[in-house]
Structure formats: C-alpha cells, structure tokens
C-alpha cells in the first residue's frame, strides 16, 4: 500500500520557472506517481478549444473540414477555467452558458490583395459569456488577444472579394479526447541521472592532465564534465539535469584517448571512468505550456486531478477491500 495519498509528500526543487515553462526536481516519490502526473497533464487536464464550426459562408479556396481542423487547434485563453463546465458533465443536454462559449469569424476581404485570416479574427460573443463567482464576466478569447508577444496564427488566405463566416462553439475537453485540448507542447518526467565515478579509473585520467582534459572536452556530447584547477574531473550537480543518459561516458574506453602524447603514462587494459544509474526517488519534470494555462498551474492542476480522480478513488477502494477482508477473516 505505497500509494496512500498521505504518504505522497514530495520535496520540490524548482530549477527554472516562467509563465510558459517550468522545470523542477521532485524528490521522495516513486516513478509511478511521477508518470501518473505526466499522463494526467497530457490526458486529463480540461481546457477550452473550438469544438464545433458551422459554416455559413466559405468562399475561400480550402474546404470547410480543412478550416475547421485549423480552427480547432487555435489556443483559447480564459482567466477562469472552472467557470466553464465540460458539456457532458453539465445539466443541460445541448450546450448552455455554463458549458459552451460561442464565437464567430466573419471576414470579407475588401482589399485588392489576398488577405490572411488569423485567430485574431475570432470574435467571442461577449453577451453569451458566463459570470465568474466574483461577479466579473468571464474572459475567454484566443490566446493571441491576451499575449501581445505572440504572432497571429494564420488560418486561411482570402482572395479579394471572398468572405468567410463561421459560427464557432468553444467547449471544454480533455487531451485524451483530442490533442487540441492538451495544454502542453512538452511534458517530460524522467528520473534524475546518477553518475558514479569509478575512482580507480578516474585516477588514471586525472594523473595526466592531457587525458583528463580530453575526457572532459570530448566524451560528453552535452559537455557536462568540468575540470577543476587542480586537475580533478567533476560533474557539477546543476549540470546533471542536462544529462541525456546517452551513456557515452560509461562507454568511454582508453582507445578514445589521443595516442602518441609525450610522456603519456601506461594505462590498464580496461578503463572505466564512470557508471550511469538513474534515481528511483528523484525525478526531473519539464513542462512547456502552449500558453493557455501558466506552466506552474498545469502542474498543480495535474496533481489535483491525479489525486481527485485516481488516487482518492483507488485508496477508497483499497480501504473498502481491506475492510471486507477483515470481515472475512472474522468468520
């Protein structure tokens, strides 16, 4: 019974954090929990996306399905995700203020040049938006309208005189249903690498500075090893998280050393510099948001989803089973 909720009490070290990405180490959990988190991020988080397009007029070159698919992948921002419900969980059957947001694209190219329709042209129907618990009207709009640093996403080019009029329905959904609801572009959870130096082997290298220098310079494609002033090969802990576990350092053999170096000492037949292991309790998590939800929030939401939808029910089930079993024993 090592998945009891109370026992999950990790220690978190944040390596870097910004709105759109977060990298941290998590200690004191096992791989199933971390992987569960990762899967929750990809599958279970609920976000908004355009889910239905009704084409009133499409005079563009491309077909309706083509445009609808592009529109579906447009990131939609909202300042309060809880304000919109998943439609299947909503009391209404065919969409109401609580579970859908309506929007439209209505563009006519009046210019003489081809015109690019972008996600900036998506107009959310303001009057149809739900109210937040604090009394404000919900903000729900394409990400590009919130984050001015973003480039508009091209959807289609319209010829002079052509127009496009689409009614859009924004709904809440999960990444496991369609990738458009997945809030991350990257989500990695991996064990922290452990590199154990073979002291005997390393000593041979460190005894002769050109060898040590060569080892540090060439063996790791990421260049993680460093040479201290007193000629010792080290691996600074902050470098370790860049390790890709490529195994080049473990595979290192004396044949890779430059030959014919003046004063080179004799080396043993087998020369191991280090061994690679992975930690069972410490993990690196790297999340990159597509921008609709801040990366730290993604982690928090994933954690609560994991607990709420998986760990708590599982724990309850286990307790029930234990309870039943006790009763059985009593007979």
């Amino acid at each position: 019974m090592d998945i009891l909720v109370e026992e999950v009490n990790p220690r978190i070290i944040i390596n870097s954090c910004s709105r759109n990405s977060i990298q941290f180490e998590i200690h004191g959990v096992d791989i199933s929990y971390v992987n569960g988190l990762r899967r929750a991020v990809l599958n279970e988080l609920q976000t908004l996306a355009i889910d239905e397009c009704v084409f009133n007029r499409n005079e563009s070159v491309l077909s309706d399905e083509f445009i609808a698919h592009r529109l579906g992948l447009v990131p939609i921002y909202t300042d309060d995700l809880d304000c919109v419900q998943e439609q299947r969980a909503c009391a209404c059957n065919r969409g109401c203020k609580k579970c859908t947001v309506t929007a439209e694209i209505d563009v006519t190219n009046d210019t003489d040049e081809p015109m690019m329709v972008t996600d900036k042209h998506i107009q959310v129907a303001k009057d149809m938006l739900p109210t937040r618990p604090n009394g404000d009207t919900l903000r729900c709009l394409p990400l590009v309208d919130v984050d001015s640093s973003l480039d508009a996403i091209p959807i289609i080019k319209l010829n002079p005189g052509a127009s496009l009029h689409v009614d859009l329905t924004i709904r809440k959904g999960r990444g496991k249903v369609h990738a458009k609801w997945c809030p991350v572009s990257k989500c990695v959870a991996k064990p922290v690498p452990i590199i154990v130096f073979d002291d005997a082997g390393l000593e041979y290298l460190e005894d002769f500075r050109p060898y040590a220098q060569h080892f540090v310079d060439t063996v790791c494609p990421k260049g993680l090893f460093e040479l201290t002033l007193d000629g010792r090969v080290t691996l600074p802990p902050e470098n370790l998280r860049d390790c890709v576990l490529c195994g080049e350092c473990e595979r290192f053999s004396k044949d890779e050393l430059p030959s014919g170096v003046h004063d080179a000492p004799a080396l043993p037949d087998t020369l191991n510099a280090c061994y690679i292991r992975t930690s069972r309790t410490a993990f690196l998590i790297d999340i990159e948001s597509i921008g609709t939800i801040p990366a730290p929030d993604i982690f928090k939401m994933a954690k609560s989803v994991l607990h709420r939808e998986y760990l708590v029910p599982v724990q309850a089930a286990i307790q029930q089973m234990t309870h039943d079993a006790e009763g059985f024993d009593g007979l």
Binding site: S63, D64, G175, A179, V188, V244, G247
Partner: protein, 1117 residues
C-alpha cells in the same frame, strides 16, 4: 536549401547545368520534340506523298493538296471557331485539338480553282507543344489559363480525359543483326522499313554450311545464290569477290555454290523461275507473269530499304548493285560470325533499339487517315461526276470529310488502338490515361517506355538491365510482375532523337573522301571501312577516324543536327552514321586534351542565367551522344578523373536515375529492389498534384491536407519541383517494437499527431452526367425531388435519398450526402411520348460525403453536362497504408494516445513507431541515413542533401548531431510512456519522410450477410462493388474437409449459396416439373431433392448439348 553565390568547383557544381537544361527543354522534351517535328515537317511530307486525288469517272478532274499547316487550338460552337484552353477541354469533356488546314487546287469544268485554308481534319494538340496555347507562356499567364505551371505537358486532352501516347520500344529497322535462330543456325537479319513500303524481315541463314535467304513470301529457305543470280550477278567469281578475297570466304561459300550447280541454276532467268515456284500462295494477289512477279519481289520486298529503282529521264531503271553489295556485306558478317571471328550481335543492346514517340505514331495514323480521306473524296467525285446531267457543279471542297481524320485521331488516342491498314498493324495499348494520383505519377507516365515484346514469354534477356542502358533508362523504375523489365522509364537527361535529313550527312561523307561503291570492285569494298548512313551503304573510306572527327566537328559547329551520331565499329570495319529518329541520346560535357571544355567561368554564366543550354551546345561545350557513339567515347564520371584520353565528362551521376527514383534519398545505400518498390509506390503517394488541383474535376482525386517538403531532399527533387507539389510528410520515427501491433511491417501511430493533422487527406470524387439528346429529339432532364405528401413537411422514408436534391435537380454545395443519396436527379424520356423515367446518379460510397463543387456546362454536342464533385475527409485509421521512400510499406496497426507513446529526453514523441525487424532483411541503409541526416538537418535548420552518389556524408551528419547534443549514430534514450521508465536500449530516432498511399481501409472494408445473387447461377455476386459474398475457395474448403466438419461445409457451400429444390423423376432420372414427369407422363415417383442450383444448371446445359445425365435416387435411412 541555401544557394551559395557562385560555383566553387567544377566537380561540385557541374550539376548546376541541369536547371538550365530543364529550363530550355522541360521535363518531357522527348514527347514535345517528337510532336513538334510531326507538325512542322512530317505532316506536310505525308500529304505531299499522296497529294493528288483523281477519279475514274472524269479523267480531267483532279484535286491537289498544296501546303498543309496546323492552326491554333480551337473549339467550334454555333458555327464559330473560338480559341480554347486545355483546362476548358478537361472540364467540358472536349478534345483539345487544332484544325489542319490545307491549300487545295482542283478542277471545276476543267478550270483550276484554288482554295486557301480548307480544314481537312482536326489534330489533337499535345500540351506544351508549339501548337499549344500554353507554349512559351510565363507562370502568371498559365495561372490565368487555370493551368499548373509545373505540369510537364506532353499529353493530350481527348474527350476531357488526359491521354499520353507511351513511348514504344522496338528493334531498330534497317540494321544487320547477326544471331542464331531456334535451331542454332547462324543468321543475319534485317528488318527493312521505309516511309513508302511495309516493313519486311529478311534473313540470311547458314544451314549445313550453305547460305539461304529466309523471308515469309517464300514457302521455304531459298539458296542465297539463286537470289543473287536473280539479281543479275551470274558469275560465281564475282559473288565471291564481293564478299571478300580472303580464302575463308571462298571456303565458306563453296557448299552453296555447289548446291546451285546441283539445282542447275546458272542464269537470271532460271533463278527467277525457281524463285517464282517457291512463292507462298497469297489470297487476292494480282496475277502477273511469273518473271515479273519474281523480279518485283526482288526489287521491293526483299531488303526493300535498299533503293534499286532510279528514275532516269522519266523511266524507271533498276540497278541491283547496291542491294547485291549489301547482301554480300551481310554475308561477310555472317561468315565471320560463324567462324567465331566476330561476336554475335546482342538483340537487347540498347543501340539496336528505337523508340517510337507520339510524333511517329501520329504520323502513321495520319497517313492512314489521310489516305482514307482521299479515297472517300475520290469516291464522292466518282459518284458526282459519273452522273450524266448534274444539277449543280461538283465542289470537291464540300465533299471533303474532315471528320474522317478528326474522329480517327480521337478514337485512336482515347482507345489506344492503332489500326493502320497500310502497314497491316493493329496495336493495342498505345495510349494510357495520365494518372493524377500524385505529381510524380503523372510525370512518371511521360517518361514511360513500353516494349512490344510479348509479356507471356519467359525469357530474361529483354527484361534484364543492359549495360548500354546506362544514363538512358532508369535502372530502378520498372514495375514488378509480368511486365517487369519490359516497361521502362527514361533517365533524367535522356533525349530521344528526332529525324533529320540524311542528305547533308551523305554529301559531307562524299566530300570527306568516301568513295561510292558503284565504282568499286569487291576487294576494294572488303578492304576498306564501309560507311553506313542510317543503315544504307553510301561508300567506303580508308581513314575512318578522320571521317569521324570531321563529322563530329561539323555536328559540334551546328552544321549537322545535334542528334547525329557517328562511330566506328572496328570489328565490323564499318563507320555507322545515324540521323534517324528514336535513338536515345544523352548530353555530356566535351573534354579535350585532358581538360573539360566547361570552365568554371562558363558554369558561372550558366548559373547566373547569362548563358543558356543552347549556348553551351553552340559553343561545343556539351553534346548529345547516342548509345552507339558512347561506345567510342571515354567518359569520366568526375572531373578529377579526366585524363588525356578522356573524351567526355558526365554532367552528374544523378542523371543515371529517372524522375521517380530521383525521389529516393541515398538510393545507392539501398538494396536495389527496394528502390524499384519505391518507384512504384511514389506514384501512389497522396499529396499535392498540381497548382490547379482544387479546380479540377477528376474521377478521384486524393489530396493531402498538409503536404511537406522532405527534410532530406535530393537534387532531382528540386529539379522536378517536387518541393512545390510534395506527397508526404516528415514524421519522427522511433525504430522500436511496441505493443505487438507492429509486427509484419505494421506501424504504430501517435494519436496526437493524427489529431494535429498528420496523414490527413481529402478524397474528391466526381459524378457526372450529360443530358443526352435522344434520337427522337427528346432530351434528358434534371428534375427536383418528389414533393412530400400534402400535410407532410419531409419526404417519406422510402424517398429519403432525394433529401439533398434541390428544385434544380442538383444538390446544394456543402450538403452532406449519405450512401445512395441522389446527386444528379436525371430523368430520361420513356418510350411513351411525354413521360420521363428516373435515372439518377447516386452517391455510391459507404460513408457520407460533402458536395464540393457543381459544374454546369455543355459538351461538344451542345448537351448540358453536369458534374458534381464530392469530398470526403480521411483521417488515418487502422489499416491505412503508409510507406517511407525506401520501399518500406506498412499499414497502421495501432493508434496510440500520446501519453502512452515513448518520449525522449526533450519531450519529443514519435509520430510513428516502426518495428526494427524491417531493417535486417530489407537492407535499406538509405532509410537509416535519411533518419540521421534528417535529424541533423532539423537541428542545423536546413534541408539535408541525400542525392544519389553524393549527399551529406554520415560523418558530417554524425558531427552535426554531436554538436547539437545528440548521439553520433542517431540513437536516443527514450522513456516508456506507460511506465515512465527509461527503455532498456537506445532507440534509433529521427525524422523520416513518409508517404500516405492511396490504399485506404475505407475503400476496401466489406462484409455481407445477405445480398444480391447472380441471375444465372443464383450464387452470391462477387466483389465489393456488387455487395458480393466472401468466397470460400478451394483452399478454405480443404481446411474444412480435413477438419471433418461436413455440416459446416455443406452450409457454406450450398445452404448459404445456391440451394435449390429440384424435382427428379425416379423412373427416368431426369429433372421433372412439380409432381409431373413430362418424359414418363406420370406423377408417380417424382421426388424433391436438394442440390446446388449450379448443378441443376449444369444438367440442363448438358442436355442442351445432347448429353443426358440421369439422377438415380435411393432411399437412405
């Protein structure tokens, strides 16, 4: 790809001549050149050859065609000629053709009348030829004509269908081939063919040390000396001396001489009588005197390409000497070959092959059609002029029926049947519809060569790759199966020669010291080098190399046609010069004195556009060599290999491949058949087909939603503009096993990639219907849907198929059509006068479609033509077929959530997972290199180069990868998406270009419980399109039989198929009607039995053939 400013080295940059080459000639120059030659020269020549039409009724009447030319492509509507574009023809099912005009002179009342520009027929116009309205148009103008600027042209639009005339490979005419016949006798064969005469095959055979002539006008082999004597050479000594003075010839001929002595033939007269007795009897031959017939045969049937008749002062004189010399030359070759002094000729050697192109084939056809036109005209003149008193004057220009030519062309091109009466040929499959599956498939059809060789023959020779095909034909691009090696494709730079006049060459030969044979003795001929021009002996020369040098110099200077070829065959002691059409040639850079004539400066100018390919030709920097002349050339592959004896330098080894094989990255690292497989699959790949793809109405059009340029490109790809109309997507591929749903080449696909548009394609299907005018003048019509019952708002369920149809009988654009819904609600007039019966065109696919476009237009008969294009979105699903560019095809075995997919350190998830078992047996190392090269290219931010015999080296790729922080060999550590643990092995991971192939589950999915049955046998129908049953064949039957499940077998084979209760009479054992046997006239003992209907049918069919099968009945308890 980033282009460096100017050429840096000759070796690395001489390939840059190629863009200039394609700018000048386009991708299908061979077709266009041939067609242009036909229009410019051949057409007129054919008309001039039979220009005069006379008639028997009035000897004073004649009609003469003077000058003939082809106008601009037009269409005639309401008696008005209007220019037409190919695109309009495609849409409206018209034929893209231009009128052939002639100036005619004829007599009317014995006064010569002249008419300018009379149309004698319409010629289908090849796209991009000089007659086409697209010729020389800039891309913008093309766009205005709704034509794709990348389209290669070279095909025809006939009745709205795009048809290409395939190149036909044939043995070359008028060339001596020394070989063995089936019995192992040596023989020298010539197939003679001239413009005027039918082709005929004549062979000299050496049998039992005696020489014979074999020709199918004779019932048996004729002793050769009889023929020679028939030609007037009565002296044996003269014959032997013409063959050669070496004693070997006299020895070889001795037996033959003895034979004719035994036959008692000494004089010409005796020989002719003998020949006449050996004629094969022919039906309907004009009876003529024996001697004349034999003489005529010698003149115009045997070796008829050697002209024996000359016109002196208006009378024919016959001079057999050229023919005799030719036969003796053949004899000399034969004798030497039989003695082993001369190698036999290789029939598969590509120098002995000629390609027949569109121009030649159309020429043959036109000649026949024009002849028919003239005969028809002559008949009409006869009919009109033989009347005693004519109501009005006969105007032959009114009786000229251009339809004969027009319809003849259209029929031949659209059916592919070339029926030519004069040559007595009937060839099928000459043309083919241009497949628009992808840009490559259309381009591939233009470079295709078919061979007339019978497919059923089990011989390897004609199918195998010949060394002489190097640089001319693509070594990889050929189909698998029965036509393997018979259907070939041109290499990238291969040009096919067009005919050029041989008189300048002959004149040049004479002025360069060639001596005419007519003045020479046999010894003189045998001692010197014989000079052949297009297979005819023109004379002898004693310094062949000098002659050769001069001819080549004249060609390089532009005094002779660029495709003229000249070479010496030292074994034959002959100089062969050729100007004929259909030879495959390829351009090479000329080298002199150990240096290439292409300098870096010139290359610079070509790249900058200051010099064109034609300038290089004119300056003698590049020239065309045909297969034969290549034999005398020493060609360096790379510029550093140029030595003092080198004559030519390759432009680039990549030109050895064709356009389809040019797509493959690193093909030189692959096992050869894999490249062949890719050549076939590249044609099935879905992608973009042309810039005008959304405008087109094709029967079926598959388009990828997001086609991508390949990350690993080749030079051929950029030369063919494949980057502009690609067919595939760069996919990150992990080579690992996953889930077990990836066995047998299946691939596992990432659901998130599919969601984001990977492999997504749109299928367009056309339904069309013309509103035909019936014979009685009534017309088909469009009609609205049936009206709902009064009081109802919608149609009753049995008329739901009309729901998409609007009042005009057509569906709304954007409407969804379900299976069996009506697309075009056509009604045809019934037999009774005013009634119409429905004849709708319905949506046949099993999934709904969306109406995309509706076209209302008129066809060439002026009828209303309706075309409806319907589209379907196809997202990859289980069972859809994908392939990389290395002949590695596979179906989707599983689509996996992204969270379950393995991921790399950086969070990269593969788009698809390929099982590593695909590699060891296939040996597609090119695919591995594409993977690492693509990965390196992705991180370096450029397209990698994977051109054949070149491209990025694996060391450079590895170093780029290491610099970007990856493993040198392209392996990454991946983590399981299911458990989160690192995989136990490093996984080969990188981007590979994948093609989605046209085979999709949705088009093939089929099952049936109950359904239609065939009328005759009452068995279930066959095939998906007929909602057919799934056959339990013999092998399946064997399984059940072996397993002993008799009842199951009976159910499958009879009860679920064609069970029938038949009545059988116990008495006579014949089939009876119910309770009554007509034979026994009784109702007693008529028993019902159960049997397959097919069995009952067989019994009755046997009866109809007077075979009576009786059934004996017995009680089984």
């Amino acid at each position: 790809m980033e282009e460096p400013k100017g050429p840096l080295s000759l070796e690395d940059d001489k390939w840059r001549l190629l863009p200039s080459f394609f700018r000048s000639f386009g991708l299908v120059k061979q077709h266009v050149d041939s067609y242009d030659h036909f229009v410019a020269h051949k057409l007129n020549k054919i008309v001039q050859a039979n220009k005069r039409v006379t008639c028997d009724a009035d000897s004073g009447f004649f009609l003469e065609f003077r000058h003939v030319w082809v106008g601009k492509p037009t269409v005639e509507e309401d008696l008005v000629q209007r220019p037409v574009t190919p695109f309009e023809c495609r849409l409206r099912d018209l034929t893209y053709s231009a009128p052939i005009f002639a100036q005619i002179v004829y007599t009317q009342n014995k006064i010569a009348q002249t008419k300018h520009s009379v149309c004698i027929g319409r010629l289908p116009v090849m796209l991009r030829s000089r007659a086409c309205c697209l010729h020389g148009k800039a891309p913008d103008d093309m766009a205005r004509l709704r034509e794709c600027p990348l389209d290669p042209g070279g095909y025809f639009v006939v009745r709205g269908a795009e048809k290409v005339i395939l190149m036909q490979e044939q043995m070359s005419m008028n060339r001596i081939i020394v070989d063995k016949d089936q019995k192992g006798c040596h023989m020298a064969t010539v197939v003679s063919s001239t413009d005027e005469r039918m082709s005929s095959r004549s062979s000299l055979v050496l049998r039992d040390n005696k020489f014979y002539l074999r020709h199918n006008t004779f019932i048996e082999d004729i002793p050769l000396f009889v023929v020679l004597k028939g030609m007037g050479i009565t002296s044996d000594q003269e014959i032997v001396s013409l063959v050669g003075s070496d004693p070997i010839y006299a020895d070889a001929l001795a037996a033959s001489l003895e034979e004719i002595t035994r036959l008692g033939i000494h004089s010409t007269m005796q020989a002719l009588i003998f020949l006449h007795s050996k004629f094969r009897p022919r039906m309907g031959q004009k009876r003529r005197s024996n001697l004349d017939q034999a003489r005529e045969c010698l003149i115009s049937v045997i070796f008829n390409h050697i002209e024996t008749r000359t016109i002196v002062d208006g009378t024919f004189t016959v001079d057999f000497r050229p023919k005799v010399v030719y036969i003796c030359t053949m004899l000399r070759r034969l004798v030497r070959a039989s003695l082993g002094k001369l190698a036999r000729d290789d029939k598969d050697y590509y120098g002995n092959k000629r390609l027949e192109l569109a121009g030649d084939l159309l020429g043959m056809l036109f000649e026949d059609l024009f002849h028919r036109l003239c005969v028809d005209l002559s008949k009409a003149a006869n009919a009109a002029l033989s009347k005693a008193n004519r109501a009005q004057q006969f105007d032959p220009s009114q009786s000229l029926r251009p339809d004969i030519v027009t319809q003849g062309f259209i029929h031949a091109i659209s059916s592919g049947n070339w029926v030519i009466k004069r040559l007595k040929t009937d060839r099928a499959g000459i043309t083919d519809t241009v497949l628009r599956l992808s840009y490559i498939s259309a381009l591939g059809m233009m470079t295709r060569i078919t061979s007339s060789f019978a497919k059923g023959m089990k011989v390897a020779g004609p199918r195998s790759l010949q060394a002489s095909q190097w640089g001319m034909l693509c070594p990889a691009d050929t189909p698998e199966g029965e036509s393997c090696g018979l259907v070939k494709n041109l290499a990238l730079l291969c040009a096919v020669s067009t005919y050029s006049d041989k008189t300048p060459v002959i004149k040049l030969c004479y002025s360069l010291g060639t001596e005419d044979i007519s003045t020479l003795s046999g010894d003189d001929i045998a001692m010197n080098y014989t000079v052949f021009v297009n297979g005819d002996i023109v004379g002898v020369h004693c310094h062949p190399q000098q002659l050769l040098r001069a001819v080549r110099l004249a060609r390089r200077k532009g005094h002779l046609d660029r495709h003229t070829s000249a070479f010496v065959n030292e074994q034959h002691r002959c100089v062969y010069i050729a100007t004929d059409q259909g030879r495959t040639c390829r351009p090479l850079i000329i080298c002199e004195n150990g240096a290439s004539r292409l300098t870096l400066k010139m290359l610079d100018d070509v790249v900058a556009g200051y010099k064109s390919w034609d300038d290089l030709m004119a300056n003698g920097v590049v020239e065309y060599l045909d297969v034969n002349e290549e034999n005398g050339a020493l060609v360096a592959m790379r510029s550093h290999q140029v030595g003092p004896k080198t004559t030519h330098l390759e432009i680039d080894p990549l030109t050895a491949l064709g356009c389809c094989a040019g797509l493959i990255p690193y093909p030189h690292h692959n096992q050869s058949p894999r490249n062949t497989y890719q050549c076939a699959m590249g044609k099935q790949a879905i992608g973009a087909i042309a810039y005008n793809q959304y405008e087109r109405f094709d029967t079926q059009l598959n388009l990828l939603v997001y086609p991508q340029k390949p990350l690993m490109h080749t030079k051929t790809i950029s030369l063919m503009a494949y980057n502009e109309v690609p067919a595939g997507q760069n996919s990150s591929v992990a080579v690992m096993s996953f889930s077990g749903y990836d066995i047998e080449d299946a691939i596992v696909m990432n659901k998130a990639s599919v969601d984001r548009g990977y492999g997504r394609c749109i299928v367009y299907k056309k339904s069309s219907a013309p509103m035909r005018t019936q014979l009685n003048g009534s017309q088909d019509r469009l009609s609205g849907p049936p009206k709902p019952e009064p009081g109802q708002t919608s149609l009753p369920p049995n008329q739901r198929q009309y729901q998409t149809v609007e009042a005009d009988g057509l569906p709304k654009v954007g409407a969804t059509v379900q299976t069996d819904d009506v697309l075009i609600n056509r009604q045809v007039p019934s037999a009774s006068a005013s009634a119409y019966s429905p004849s709708p065109i319905c949506w046949k696919a099993s999934v709904p479609g969306t109406v995309d476009k509706v076209l209302l237009t008129s066809n060439d008969k002026g009828e209303l033509l309706v075309k409806v294009n319907t589209r379907m979105l196809r997202i990859p699903e289980l069972g859809d077929k994908f392939s990389s560019r290395h002949g590695q095809k596979g179906v989707v075995g599983l689509i996996v959530k992204q969270s379950d997919m393995p991921f790399s350190q950086n969070g990269v998830c593969p788009d698809l997972i390929m099982n590593p078992h695909g590699f060891p047996s296939r040996m597609t190392v090119g695919k591995m290199l594409e993977c690492v090269g693509g990965k390196a290219g992705a991180f370096a931010g450029r397209q990698g180069d994977a051109t054949v015999f070149g491209g990025d080296t694996h060391t450079a790729i590895g170093e780029t990868l290491v610099k970007a922080g990856f493993n040198y060999t392209g392996k990454d550590l991946l983590y399981s998406g299911i458990t989160g643990e690192p995989t136990r092995a490093y996984i080969f991971f990188g981007p590979i270009y994948y093609q989605r192939l046209k085979h999709m589950v949705q088009d093939k999915l089929h099952s049936r419980a109950r359904g239609p049955r065939a009328t005759l046998t009452r068995q279930p129908t066959e095939g998906r399109s007929n909602k057919g049953g799934l056959r339990m064949g013999e092998m399946e039957r064997d399984c059940l039989l072996a397993y002993g499940t008799a009842c199951l077998m009976q159910e499958r084979l009879m009860l679920s198929s064609d069970v029938f209760i038949a009545q059988v009479c116990e008495g006579c054992g014949m089939l009876a009607s119910r309770n009554w046997c007509q034979t026994c006239k009784t109702s007693k003992g008529v028993m019902p039995i159960r049997l397959p209907y097919a069995a009952k049918l067989m019994l009755q069919e046997l009866q109809s053939m007077n075979v009576l099968a009786r059934i004996q009945l017995r009680n089984v308890t």
